[in-house]
Symmetry: C2
């Protein structure tokens, strides 16, 4: 997570944010000059960013025909959650013996903060939840100390990632999800890998149910393919 200093990296992160944030709709055309203007750089770093995003699976590039924001089907989304259901519990269990008290405290803080901004009431801010959630899971991934597993997870998740994640959670599922984070912290503190693994399994299953339902709604809602550039 180094500060992007080169133009290419800025373009990369900016584009990622644009796509993940939903500002560039799925299937939207990504013209090089247009993006270059928008980001204030030349086409070269934009091309590099598009290339890397294509490798990540966030955009699809057809030679001589430009790039588009990647789309995914409900089946693909379900596949991703199948995979998360296998990998993330393992990863969580691996994190348990590596978690030092300071690490657990950090995760605890994140979990509590998520409960604050995620609970219904005046302080609710669902947009703030997304980065907190990423921070929580990233921290957990780092604790597992398993680069290959992390790479596999990143490769599988990046594409259909939780685009505008928590906006699709119903209240009950969201409460469950937030509770899971707290329970994972508890399992870490207890040093119980099996417990942590089980909670994460529930966590993914819960998320899966939410996302699949949302995807179904979305695809039926936008049955007519839309064509927009921004």
């Amino acid at each position: 997570m180094t500060r992007p200093v080169t133009s290419a990296e800025r373009a990369l992160t900016a584009l990622r944010e644009l796509i993940m944030g939903g500002e560039l709709a799925a299937g939207a055309r990504l013209g090089e000059v247009e993006l270059a203007d928008r980001l204030g750089v030349s086409r070269t770093p934009v091309r590099e960013a598009l290339s890397r995003l294509a490798a990540e699976g966030l955009v699809q590039v057809v030679p001589n025909r430009g790039a588009r924001v990647a789309t995914w089907t409900v089946a693909e989304l379900e596949g991703v959650f199948d995979l998360r259901a296998v990998l993330e519990p393992r990863l969580t269990a691996l994190a348990v013996p590596n978690a030092r008290p300071a690490d657990v405290d950090e995760l605890d803080a994140l979990a509590r903060r998520m409960c604050e901004v995620g609970s219904p009431g005046p302080g609710q801010d669902l947009d703030a939840l997304v980065p907190l959630n990423r921070a929580f899971h990233d921290r957990l991934v780092a604790l597992a100390g398993h680069p290959a597993l992390a790479a596999a997870l990143a490769a599988a998740i990046h594409p259909p990632i939780v685009r505008r994640n928590f906006l699709t959670y119903d209240e009950e599922s969201l409460r469950r999800s937030l509770a899971h984070h707290g329970e994972i912290v508890a399992a870490l503190r207890a040093g119980d890998p099996d417990w942590a693994r089980a909670v994460m399994t529930s966590h993914i299953a819960n998320a899966r149910a939410v996302m699949v339902r949302a995807a179904r709604l979305q695809t039926t809602a936008t049955a007519t393919p839309e064509e927009e550039t921004a």
Copy 2:
């Protein structure tokens, strides 16, 4: 597997081959101009290829300081095999219901061919084994019909992939490995996912033992860090 038509794609595949084939040693410096000359293109497609290879994990890029062929430790290699031990058996089991007789025949042909060129004797050709093995596993991945799992696997494996894979197999392990391919074909024909999964689990465990041993030998042999460009 489309024929690379653009220079960037040719550079990408060429570089991959160069690295995977061992012509570019791990840690070797990858100068843009040098590679451009070597591949007969300009620096632009080379840069793009390096970028994408960095995303794949085959090379490491430090801003303003160029790219090097990625190196990996024994621990990382073990991590990769941990992951394969989880993912590939699942994937194999998924392939079972999707495998049509024609597909099984194709895999059967590959397995038999591998036995031919892999068995000790006058016809032995270990170099020919590598592409056959890749074809076999790729075919299996395709049959599973699980893009996310395939992406995760590719992300995890690509880096420390089977570089000059079978050269490190001792005779007994190689025989086991070849037998596994045949047995997987049998499990597919029988339509038994559990059988297929079990064989693949053994297959990965066997490969793991071989690769880890080879990596240990190699790292102790080249204890002094070498610095070479080609």
